[in-house]
């Protein structure tokens, strides 16, 4: 053993992957997760974009890594306080326990945008307006049904809900909702081939590897229709369907249609833990996310020596980017602990 202790806050993909790399290099890792099981948001997923890997596969790989003897997993406890004492870091939890370590990795992740804040879209008002997370849940259950138990024949997916929206305070793009919408539309068409799927978008931001190809496949093979325009309002029809109003900005004409279900592609926001713990340590950041100490380099470091960042506590990232970032964070922590004798 290296004799150095590391505490990782957050047992999502970032925390788990970083814990494993550090454990392999003989650091003693304590991983604290507030939920009773690890895995974070991917616990809710059926498949991952862009290659439709079973989410259960990556969950299993990550949880297998937690069997490493150098990792001490603490679940069901929430970190409430994080501060530096000399060269050591102190972590206090809601169950009264506290831990001391040589370095801390913040891997506190994101929360999805609360769609009730966009009242005009009818979430929380009409049963057939649901979020992308709830739609994924239905896919996982193996059946997509409207509130009245019918198989929807027409679904609309709306991008940028809670992203690129100054009124809700989020000017940034959440980056993964576009491709996630493509994935959900394809999954729906595979389940109900005769149904119609519409995606309303402002820009299709296919920035990752194979995203553009999947976007094309969704049109060529699955016949998903893309309409450039943001849905301005959703209302219920007499038969409990959802009436949509938008503009087809490429046709330069207003557009209306009724759908059986409206799925809101909710963006990523900073999690409560990220906000609280970074504020306690004076870590700067935009929109509640925690900022690294550099943009081009030192993105996993903070202004506090010994406090590191990994994953979506910094900004919206895909699963694959999160895993890569966790590895990078682990290396930088090892660099730090090597110098600090």
């Amino acid at each position: 053993m290296s004799g150095k202790n590391i505490i990782i806050i957050g047992g999502g993909p970032a925390g788990l992957e970083a814990a494993y790399h550090l454990a392999l290099h003989d650091y003693s890792v304590t991983l604290i997760e507030k939920e009773t099981e690890t895995g974070g948001h991917i616990r809710k997923d059926l498949k991952l974009f862009p290659d439709f890997t079973d989410a259960s596969e990556v969950r299993k790989e990550l949880s297998d890594k937690m069997m490493h003897p150098n990792i001490d997993l603490k679940t069901g406890i929430c970190v409430t306080e994080l501060f530096q004492e000399g060269l050591k870091w102190v972590v206090k939890c809601d169950n009264g326990s506290s831990f001391i370590s040589d370095a801390v990795l913040l891997a506190t992740g994101f929360e999805t945008f609360d769609a009730t804040r966009k009242e005009e879209l009818g979430y929380g008002i009409y049963d057939n307006v649901i979020t992308s997370v709830e739609f994924e849940g239905k896919l996982k259950e193996g059946k997509i049904l409207t509130s009245s138990g019918r198989v929807p024949q027409r679904i609309a997916f709306l991008n940028c809900v809670g992203s690129r929206d100054e009124k809700v305070g989020n000017l940034y793009c959440s980056r993964v909702c576009c491709i996630n919408g493509v994935k959900l539309a394809i999954s729906f068409k595979e389940m109900v081939p005769d149904a119609e799927a519409y995606c309303f978008y402002i820009d299709m931001r296919m920035t990752g590897q194979h995203y553009e190809e999947l976007y094309r496949t969704s049109q060529e093979k699955y016949g998903v229709t893309y309409i450039r325009g943001r849905i301005s309002e959703a209302a219920a029809t007499f038969d409990n369907r959802i009436q949509l109003k938008s503009e087809d900005t490429l046709a330069c004409l207003p557009l209306k249609m009724a759908v059986d279900m409206l799925v809101l592609m909710v963006g990523m926001e900073a999690s409560k833990s990220t906000r609280i713990l970074s504020a306690q340590n004076g870590i700067p950041g935009e929109y509640g996310f925690a900022a690294g100490s550099g943009i081009n380099f030192r993105d996993n470091l903070t202004i506090k020596a010994g406090l590191f960042l990994a994953g979506t506590c910094k900004r919206p990232l895909s699963f694959q980017e999160t895993i890569a970032d966790a590895g990078a964070a682990a290396v930088q922590m090892m660099d730090y602990l090597k110098d600090e004798k």
Binding site: E220, A251, L255
Partner: protein, 116 residues
């Protein structure tokens, strides 16, 4: 009546509950590459006809796709079938075939005076 200052305007909204998409389905069958269009507008930018008239191939194709075919045959007649659009299309869409096929589908419709 001539003095009356009001008239009923016809709605110009695309209503996807009423739009007839059978013509577009026919186009997809005839020219499958139409599905690859990403609406970049390269076709309209290079179009010889667009330089002299308000013709826009991209928009005509999109209106056809959305079932908005009123006056569309008149618009499509502005195309001289030079095929420059096909050369510049980054997605390999057979734009020239789309124009010809849309013309055929629309003239069939006009001649028979019945929906497809």
């Amino acid at each position: 009546m001539k003095e009356w200052g009001y008239k009923i305007s016809t709605p110009r909204v695309i209503d996807l509950d009423k739009a007839d998409t059978a013509r577009y389905a026919k186009l997809v069958e005839e020219v499958p590459s139409v599905k690859k269009c990403i609406m970049c507008g390269a076709c309209s930018a290079t179009c010889t006809a667009s330089n002299h008239t308000d013709f826009s191939f991209r928009q005509c194709h999109l209106l056809f796709r959305r079932g908005q075919v009123v006056n569309l045959s008149v618009e499509l007649d502005k195309c001289m079938l030079c095929g420059k659009c096909k050369i510049v299309c980054p997605q390999g869409v057979n734009t020239r075939a789309i124009i010809s096929t849309m013309r055929i589908i629309l003239s069939d419709m006009n001649n028979r005076n019945t929906p497809l």
